[in-house]
């Protein structure tokens, strides 16, 4: 039981690392794109949120699985 809990905790942490890298890349590249073309800031922001939400989805699923294992 505790072994499973421990592994689940590692899984949740790893998911957070993955999502962090993913969202960081999205955010960083969006900032770069906005700096290059400030006139399309609105479009870039909307797309950035969509992509961040999609990346986050994977992390959230991992988190929920780790809850279920708990």
């Amino acid at each position: 039981m505790t072994t499973i809990t421990g592994i689940a905790a590692i899984g949740a942490g790893l998911a957070a690392v993955g999502a962090g890298i993913g969202i960081g890349l999205i955010g960083g590249n969006a900032m770069q794109a906005i700096a290059r073309q400030p006139e399309v800031t609105g479009d870039i922001r909307t797309n950035m949120i969509i992509m961040a939400a999609l990346v986050e989805g994977a992390a959230i699923i991992a988190m929920i699985l780790s809850f279920l294992m708990n």
Partner: protein, 360 residues
Amino acid sequence: MVKKSRIFIFLISLLIPIVLIANPEATAAEGKIEKSDISKEIVEHIMNHVADANEYHILTLGEKHVTLPLPCILFNKSTHQFSFMLSSAFHHNEKIEGYKLNEETGRVVDAQTGNRDSFIDFSITKNVFHMILGFLILALVFISIKKRYTTHKNKAPKGLQGFIEPIIVFLTDEIFQPILGKNYEKFMPYLLSVFFFILINNLLGLIPFFPGGANASGNIAFTFVLAFCSFILININGTKTYWRHIFAMPGVPWPVLLMITPIEILGIFLKPIVLMLRLFGNITGGHIAVLSIVSLIFIMGENGIKLGGAIAGGAMALPLLLFVSAIELLVAFLQAFVFTLLSSIFISMALEEHHQEEHH
């Protein structure tokens, strides 16, 4: 390439000590790290908060619990009978019609077995109460705004109207019009209702005391129903092109179709499922994070034994709590926005008409 492999090695090296620490046999043998009672109690408390309850616990004064009694509507599966009672009738471990209230979790359970398998719970629970409250607030706000629009036509918005109108204009300009195209007005009632309903429930959930504090929008049933509504709306608006792309992608040879079609069919269901899980996970995660940080005070003070630890814990918890609460406020808006945004994107994908000769 060198950079990437370095990051990989760094991540792996991070893993090694974690695996060692997480190995329970090793730590138990040394007897160094043992889960104390207080941290177990805290985990239980947090999990009870995140789950639903049949009574609304407001505060505890000494030994006395102040709760808001909520109506319980229970349907027994074996006798096929409904039982109606108030949750306050259960106090002092009383058993009514074979049910009792679990004092710790605040849930009605079978008096004999102690679990919830033998009946169906239709009660107005904490989350349902919370949801109805949110609904009433929304109704009040929007009816008063509507009145102002009819009595003060073509005047500058004022008060509450001045708060809501920019949000609706923003959503229309940023999401509905560019994504849904010319028929966007048809979907606005649903999408705006969903947006404001999620938003009000998220915000009410952030209030730490009585009229809020329930984890309504972080309940899987709540998000399931919203995602199910989106699922129906997406699929009843599906055009011929949409269905054709699912069952027989044009321009794809049939052996490949055998592989693609199951994935596409799975995709119909996967979209609302991810929609459901995203909202659930975000809000539940937020509630757990806030409560864990508050628990720092109790963990470091060892439940009131060490005053210095409690003060240190409080000093740590306060700025962290402020930070996490600010993030949660942002998340409350963002998740409502993301749910609406993704719903409208999925609807627009279903609406897509066949515009050119396909080249896939």
